[in-house]
């Protein structure tokens, strides 16, 4: 089945979209400001003869002209972390303050969690959770190499998350970077769509809705919750937002994303969604030479 053909009506330039999905992704790294600054990283790369290009919309991202950023001094020293461009969006949109309590509900393998930690100036409490025990090892390895000291790692089902170990009632902010069908990772994993089925979309959407509901409930009034996926499927994106808007005390807010995006869609497959889902952003691979992505931001009310 040609899964991506479903999205022809949603995309401005369908041929460019399909062509982009067949191209490999650029190699990007994020400067880890917990251990280094951009100047030190650039000086070390220059000394080693590693070539790089700036990423115009984010000073902390660099595009490497090497296939092996892991074999450089800055990587060994934990000054940089390999991170796809769109993977830096949830942190940028949530933008947590230093000293706050932040929940990353689905944190492994830790790219977004370590980005949150650096935005918090490594100060406060970042609770990095994942329900998959096998994925905690890479999560911990990444947080350790990057020198993160403000994180607590937990292993719970995020849908029924208990804050009991921490002795407080609510987080100031939360990120739900939900498990998803991963359609937007096709440039990195050419077999990403092999197991795709409508049945899988139904079941994963139930999980996504459950985690997002719990995140809204576990965040204080006035706090922010970001929802993101790396998929195009409206069943996993706008439809999830729509269900949560109906039952939880929250509203979607406008977000500024520094790249070219489309608004969320209000109709799909005979269904209509709450009009405010337009405040979410869809990121198509051909528009900024990235993976595919979806991101939305809620404010918790009452």
């Amino acid at each position: 089945m040609d899964v991506l053909a479903r999205y022809e009506p949603l995309v401005d330039d369908y041929a460019a979209f399909r062509a982009a999905c067949d191209q490999p992704l650029p190699h990007l790294v994020r400067v880890n400001t917990i251990k280094a600054d951009r100047g030190s990283v650039l000086a070390a790369l220059e000394e080693s003869g590693v070539r790089w290009e700036p990423v115009p919309w984010n000073d902390h991202l660099l595009e490497f002209e090497t296939d092996s950023p892991g074999l450089t001094w800055p990587y060994f020293l934990g000054w940089i972390h390999g991170q796809e461009a769109v993977s830096a969006l949830p942190g940028t949109v949530l933008d947590p303050d230093p000293g706050t309590r932040v929940w990353d509900a689905c944190a492994a393998p830790g790219s977004k969690a370590s980005h949150l930690a650096q935005l918090m100036a490594d100060e406060g409490l970042l609770v990095a959770n994942d329900d998959n025990l096998g994925r905690l090892a890479p999560l911990r390895t990444n947080l350790d190499r990057l020198g993160v000291t403000c994180a607590a790692v937990t292993n719970q089902d995020a849908r029924y998350y208990s804050l009991q170990p921490f002795g407080f009632e609510a987080f100031d902010a939360a990120l739900v970077d939900a498990p998803c069908s991963g359609e937007g990772t096709i440039r990195k994993n050419p077999d990403a769509l092999d197991d795709w089925s409508p049945g899988f979309l139904d079941s994963i959407a139930g999980v996504q809705t459950g985690i997002l509901r719990r995140a809204i409930q576990a965040t204080r009034q006035g706090g922010a919750v970001v929802y993101s996926t790396c998929t195009f499927a409206p069943e996993e994106n706008e439809a999830v937002l729509d269900r949560v808007l109906e039952t939880e005390p929250c509203r979607l807010v406008d977000i500024e994303v520094p790249i070219d995006t489309d608004p969320g869609i209000t109709e799909w497959d005979g269904q209509t969604f709450d009009e405010t889902v337009e405040r979410a952003r869809r990121i198509w691979p051909h528009r900024n030479d990235t993976g595919g992505f979806f991101v939305a931001k809620f404010e918790v009310i009452e």
Binding site: K35, A43, T66, F76, L77, T149, C150, G167
Partner: protein
């Protein structure tokens, strides 16, 4: 039901007066050790709390949570206190070792590459034997690579297997 010790984090007692378990290190001892061994001032860790999970595995957290805390990981694993000679972790010295003024051994770039591959480095050293902070110069700046164990004219690399790398 109480959580078994190896599955929970207990905050280190502040000092000897508050210590029930004689095997447990205290906060005062940990701060004194960093200062005595490496010259890292105690003020460096003013905003950090220290925790133990299992015996002699010390972690540091930039923040506070209730003790005991039954979770998977808390902050950064920084120190092993089980043996007579305490051993700092690679990740802790990379994060805090820049402030070290003692027991800090400089490697040239060739030695540094050997060291981060996990191999031992033959090198003269007229200071203390034991765990040293290994540094090198990258782009004219002294940077901390990790921990080495110095004995008999040799610095044994303590870079953990998963962190070893052959720099190109």
């Amino acid at each position: 039901m109480t959580t078994p010790e190896h599955k929970r984090f207990d905050r280190l007692p502040a000092s000897d007066a508050e210590r029930d378990n004689p095997k447990q290190a205290t906060r005062v001892e940990v701060l004194e050790w960093w200062e005595t061994r490496f010259g890292i001032p105690p003020a460096t860790f003013k905003e950090y709390t220290f925790w133990e999970k299992g015996t002699g595995k010390v972690w540091l957290l930039h923040g506070e949570v209730p003790s005991p805390c039954p979770i998977e990981a808390l902050g950064l694993h920084c120190l092993r206190t089980r043996q007579e000679h305490w051993k700092p972790t690679t990740n802790a010295v990379q994060r805090f070792g820049q402030a070290a003024t003692r027991n800090r051994i400089h490697l040239d770039l060739r030695q540094a590459k050997v060291f981060v591959e996990g191999q031992d480095v033959e090198i003269e050293w007229d200071g203390d034997w034991g765990y040293l902070i290994a540094t090198t110069d990258i782009a004219d700046r002294s940077v901390v690579l990790g921990v080495g164990l110095y004995t008999y004219g040799e610095l044994k690399s303590q870079i953990p297997k998963g962190r070893r790398v052959a720099i190109e």
